[in-house]
Symmetry: C3
Subunit: 203 residues, 3 copies
C-alpha cells in the first residue's frame, strides 16, 4: 500500500512540475524534463546527502515511468488537468507527506541523528518543488508559504520522535504523513478565503 501511495506521490509532484512548465509555455520535452526533475529531485538530493549511490530515483524504472508518463499526460491533456488544480494540490500534499516521512525514515535507518534525519526528510519533500521553481525563475513555494515548511517539519519530527520512543515505523510514518497532508490541505482551504487576489493565486 505504501508503494502505491509512493507512486501516487511521484505522480502528484510530476503533475505539479508539468503544469508549471505548461504555464511557462515550455514544449513537450521541457514539460517532461521538469516533471522528472520535480518528482525525482528531492529523492536524488536525499540520496546524495546520505551517500546512496547511484540514487534510488535513477535506478528504479517505475519511478521514471510514472514521472515521465505523468508529465506527458499533463502536456497532452492540460486543459483538463488545469481544472483539476485542487486535486493536484491535494495530491501534492500527499506527495509531500510521503516524501518527508520516507526521507526521514531512510536517514534514520542509515544512522543519522534525529535532527539530521528531520532535515534530510524535509529536504526530500521540499527539494523537488524548489528545483522546479528555481528552473522556472520563481522564488520557491517553501520560502513563500509558511505552512509548507512547518507542515514538513511537523511530520519529520513525528517520525523522528516515534523512532526515538521505539514505536513501530509504519503507523508512525502514516501518522506523520497524515499530519503533513492535513496541515497543507487546511492551509489550502484557509488560502481560498485569504485576502489575496484570486487571480494571483497560482500554483
Amino acid at each position: 500500500m505504501l508503494t502505491a501511495l509512493e507512486l501516487i506521490g511521484i505522480a502528484a509532484f510530476a503533475a505539479s512540475g508539468a503544469l508549471a512548465a505548461v504555464r511557462s509555455r515550455l514544449d513537450v520535452f521541457g514539460v517532461i524534463v521538469l516533471a522528472l526533475t520535480t518528482a525525482l529531485g528531492g529523492g536524488t538530493i536525499r540520496d546524495v546527502l546520505l551517500d546512496v549511490t547511484p540514487p534510488t530515483a535513477l535506478v528504479t524504472w517505475p519511478y521514471l515511468a510514472v514521472a515521465g508518463g505523468t508529465g506527458l499526460l499533463v502536456f497532452l491533456f492540460h486543459p483538463t488537468v488545469a481544472k483539476l488544480r485542487r486535486s493536484v494540490l491535494v495530491l501534492d500534499a500527499v506527495g509531500l507527506g510521503l516524501f518527508v516521512t520516507g526521507g526521514t525514515n531512510t536517514a534514520l535507518a542509515l544512522g543519522a541523528p534525529p535532527y539530521a534525519a528531520c532535515l534530510v526528510g524535509m529536504t526530500t519533500g521540499i527539494g523537488g518543488g524548489a528545483l522546479r521553481d528555481v528552473l522556472l525563475r520563481e522564488i520557491p513555494l517553501v520560502l513563500r508559504r509558511e505552512i509548507y515548511a512547518v507542515a514538513a517539519l511537523a511530520g519529520a519530527v513525528i517520525v523522528a520522535l516515534g523512532d526515538h520512543l521505539g514505536f513501530p515505523p509504519e503507523p508512525v510514518a502514516v501518522t506523520g504523513s497524515v499530519v503533513i497532508m492535513g496541515l497543507r490541505i487546511l492551509a489550502l482551504w484557509r488560502g481560498w478565503n485569504a485576502p489575496t487576489a484570486p487571480k494571483l493565486d497560482g500554483v
Copy 2:
C-alpha cells in the same frame, strides 16, 4: 583523439558560459567563474551521482586550465568571439555529444542499469548549461529548445543499446556523439529559418 575532443568540448562549454556572462555584463572574474561552472558543472554532477570522489573535473588540472583559460580569452576578445557565435554553438553541440556519451559510458562502467546510465549521461551533458542559465536568471535552454533534450537522449540510448548488444564502446560512443551533434546542428540550421525574431535569438 577522444581526449583532444573532450578538451574541445570543455572549451566550447566554457566559451558558451563566458559569452553569456559577458552579455550579462559580469566582470572578468564573474566571466571566469561562469566559464568554469558551465564547463565542469555537468561532469561534477555526474561524479556526485555516481560517487566518484573527489569529482574528476576538480582534480584534472588540464580541464581547469582549458576552462579557465577559455573564459579569460572570451573576456579579452569577446567582440571577436561574438562574431563566432555559430562556431561556438557548433562546438557546444560537439561538447554535448561527447559529454552525454562519455557520461553514459562512465555510468555503465560503474554498474548502473541502462536507463539510469542514460539519465546520468544526459545530466552530464545538460547540467553545466543549466547551471549557467540558472545563475544568470534564465530558464535553462534544455527546457526551452526541444531538440536539446531529444538529441541528448538519442545519443545516450545509442550508447546504452550498443553496450547491451556487446558492441565495442569506442565506435558506439563516436556514433552517439555524431548523432547528437548532427541533431543539434540540424536544429540550429532549422532555427535560423524559424519565425522567431532574429534579435531575440540569443545564445
Copy 3:
C-alpha cells in the same frame, strides 16, 4: 578559538541570508529556511564533493541552532539589524575567510591535490551565498563583485601553499582568513566611495 570564530562565521552567513529574505518580504519560516541554507549550504556542497556523509553541517546541532536562531533573531529585530548592515558585511567577510580556509584544509586533509583543494575551499565559502541569491532570483554576488572570488582564491592559495611548504596549518589558516577578510573589507570601504548610486548599494 577557531570553533568560536566558526560559529561567528555561520551566524554571519545566516544573518546575511535572513536579511536578504526579509528584504524579499518572506515570512518567518522562509527567513529561517534561507538563513539555514546560506549558513550551511557551502559546507554541505563541500562534504558532498568530498564524500563526507552525512554532511557535517547536518549532523552538528550547534551549527543548526546558531544558524536557525540567528535567522529568527534577524526576523524579529530586522529594523535594528538593518542598521547593522556594515557589521553584517564585516561578519560575512569573517565567515568567508574561515569557510574558505577551513574548506581548503578539509580537502587537503582528505588527499585532494592543491588546485582541487583551492576549488573546494572557494566553493565552501561561496556556495551558501550563491544558493541564497539563486533562491531569491538574483545573480550571485560572487559573479557581480570581482573582489569576492579573488579574495577567496587568495586565501585558498595561501592555505594550499602553506601546506605544500610544510608550514603548521593553524597560523597558515589564520593568515589566509585575515587576507580574505582584509581584501573584502577593503573592497567594501572602496565600494562606499565608488560612483555607484548609494540607494542601489544593497547587500
